[in-house]
């Protein structure tokens, strides 16, 4: 029997489909520290953390092609605006809120197109850590601003737990050296929590164990935007040998 088209049911099904696919996603942790901002993720093969513009970087979980589309759309908008107007006018809220969000919402609500399977985290560097901003962008176009730190993971309850963990750990503005171990454990918390439905709080040990286990098949990738640097590009990926000591101490 043919059932009539139900808008609400359709959206629910689409959301369910996307949530199931995001669930296995590898989380991303963002932390603002004294001399910059970092995004930490685990990569299996390809890159995970990308530079968008002079003071803007991005990472996402989800379908590779969708993530690429988001990334390129953000880069296009940022460079177009940065050239036609000024690099100072390329802000995180314009890129996420106006360039990307409406397109995501449109794709999600339109029954004739495939929705984006992606959840993204953007980070923007300012002159002082107090000004640094993070935005999460959801597959349905919803976006939320954060300060000091932010996380995206496979499930909302995993993000909540990780946020609580980061809240407790980051009592003051960290340095890169103190932020990295916190970000690593937070990654473990986010990943472990997303795998388990009913555990209320993942212990730090369980989180680190999970991370150690994952390091067998994946590599930690950390992208940073530096506040003070002599280089033209503020963005760079931390070299593996700089991460090694932190991974050994896990």
């Amino acid at each position: 029997m043919l059932t009539p088209y139900d808008f609400q049911e359709n959206l629910q099904q689409r959301a369910q489909y996307i949530r199931n696919r995001l669930r296995a996603g590898s989380p991303v942790i963002g932390i603002s520290y004294d001399n910059g901002v970092l995004l930490l993720a685990l990569k299996r093969r390809g890159r995970k953390v990308y530079e968008i513009y002079d003071r803007l970087m991005f990472s996402a979980i989800g379908n590779q092609a969708d993530v690429e589309n988001l990334r390129l759309a953000a880069i296009d908008f940022a460079h177009q605006e940065g050239f036609v107007r000024s690099p100072d006018d390329v802000t995180i809220q314009r890129v996420v809120g106006f360039a990307l969000s409406p397109a995501l919402k449109k794709a999600f609500g339109d029954p004739l197109t495939t929705p984006f399977v992606a959840r993204a985290l953007f980070a923007e560097l300012h002159d002082a850590p107090e000004g640094d901003q993070f935005y999460t962008l959801n597959y349905d176009g919803e976006f939320l601003p954060y300060e000091r730190f932010a996380v995206i993971g496979g499930a909302p309850h995993a993000e909540e737990q990780t946020t609580r963990y980061l809240e407790a750990q980051l009592t003051r503005i960290p340095t890169l050296e103190t932020a990295l171990p916190i970000a690593l454990t937070a990654w473990g918390v986010a990943y472990e929590a997303a795998q388990q439905e009913d555990v209320d709080a993942v212990s730090e040990d369980a989180a680190r164990n999970r991370l150690r286990e994952m390091l067998g098949e994946a590599q930690v990738e950390v992208g940073i935007l530096e506040r003070q640097t002599l280089r033209e590009n503020r963005f760079r990926l931390l070299p593996q040998n700089q991460l090694e000591p932190y991974l050994k101490r896990l």
Binding site: R47, Y50, E51, I52, Y53, D54, L72, I75, D76, H79, Q80, G82, F83, V84, L230, R231, E232, N233
Partner: protein
């Protein structure tokens, strides 16, 4: 279904933007000036910029004066500009158009690197400069917007600095030891040859020596050319590029060299 392609071409992106928004991007459309422009004489590129090789890189030094005919318009123009972490450009000529092209190139290199996840090749960058210059050719012919860039790059494949210069239409030439552009450069060109022939190539000498040599040459150029700002009133700018990236020579270092030249030390 249409498959969108991403070539990382910034020119293409701007063309799309222009077509979609209807907003005119000045770089892509020549300024409508009568041909030739009545004030073409204003476009004498009065300046001196010098690019010198040193061990492991290239040094750029430029005066700070911007002129229009015989008026000094501005005393703190910066004519040595980094395009990315491996590329410096020194400009002589119409400042407005030059800055627009420099802005374009900076975006173009970064846009390619960020979208394609690999840096633009050296040849790709040099070609992009040619393209920007030939796009600017109608302006140059119209008498507004003639400028000449010198590109200094660090070439990781050869582990050495390289210098390229262009003509107005975008033709590219590589020069082995030094490059100079602007009205003052004509008058000191022979000195470079004299130095390399009597004291050996610049590329074998340390940065400090090249810096001293370049500032002294700029001083001589300023003596012979009214449109070159010289080294006394406002200190010249100096930047260099080597394996580690692009760096600015601190003002204090330049001031010391200028003082030592004035007090007769080697000057």
């Amino acid at each position: 279904m249409t498959i969108q392609t991403y070539s990382g071409d910034f020119y293409e992106l701007l063309q799309q933007y222009q077509a979609q928004s209807g907003v005119r991007v000045p770089l892509l459309s020549p300024i409508d000036a009568p041909n030739p422009a009545p004030n073409a004489a204003l476009e004498v590129h009065g300046t001196t910029v010098i690019a010198l090789k040193f061990q492991g890189g290239v040094l750029n030094v430029g005066d700070r004066r911007a002129t229009a005919a015989n008026a000094v318009m501005y005393d703190r123009a910066d004519k040595i500009i980094p395009l990315d972490d491996y590329t410096l450009v020194a400009i002589a000529g119409a400042y407005g158009r030059a800055m627009e092209v420099v802005r374009y190139l900076r975006h173009s290199f970064k846009y390619y690197a960020r979208s394609q996840l690999q840096p633009m090749s050296l040849d790709g960058k040099l070609q992009e400069v040619s393209r920007a210059l030939s796009a600017n050719l109608p302006n140059a012919l119209g008498g507004i917007g003639l400028f000449i860039p010198i590109l200094s790059v660090y070439d990781p494949d050869r582990d050495s600095g390289r210098i390229f210069f262009y003509d107005v239409s975008g033709a590219r030439f590589e020069t082995p030891e030094y490059g100079a552009a602007g009205s003052g450069s004509e008058r000191i060109r022979g000195v470079f040859d004299y130095i390399t022939k009597t004291r050996g190539p610049f590329s074998q000498r340390p940065l400090e020596e090249a810096l001293r040599e370049a500032i002294l040459l700029l001083d001589i150029a300023a003596d012979l050319d009214a449109a070159t700002g010289g080294i006394d009133k406002v200190l010249p700018t100096a930047r260099y590029v080597n394996r580690e990236g692009v760096f600015e020579v601190p003002e204090a270092t330049i001031r010391d060299i200028v003082q030592s030249i004035r007090s007769g030390g080697n000057g």
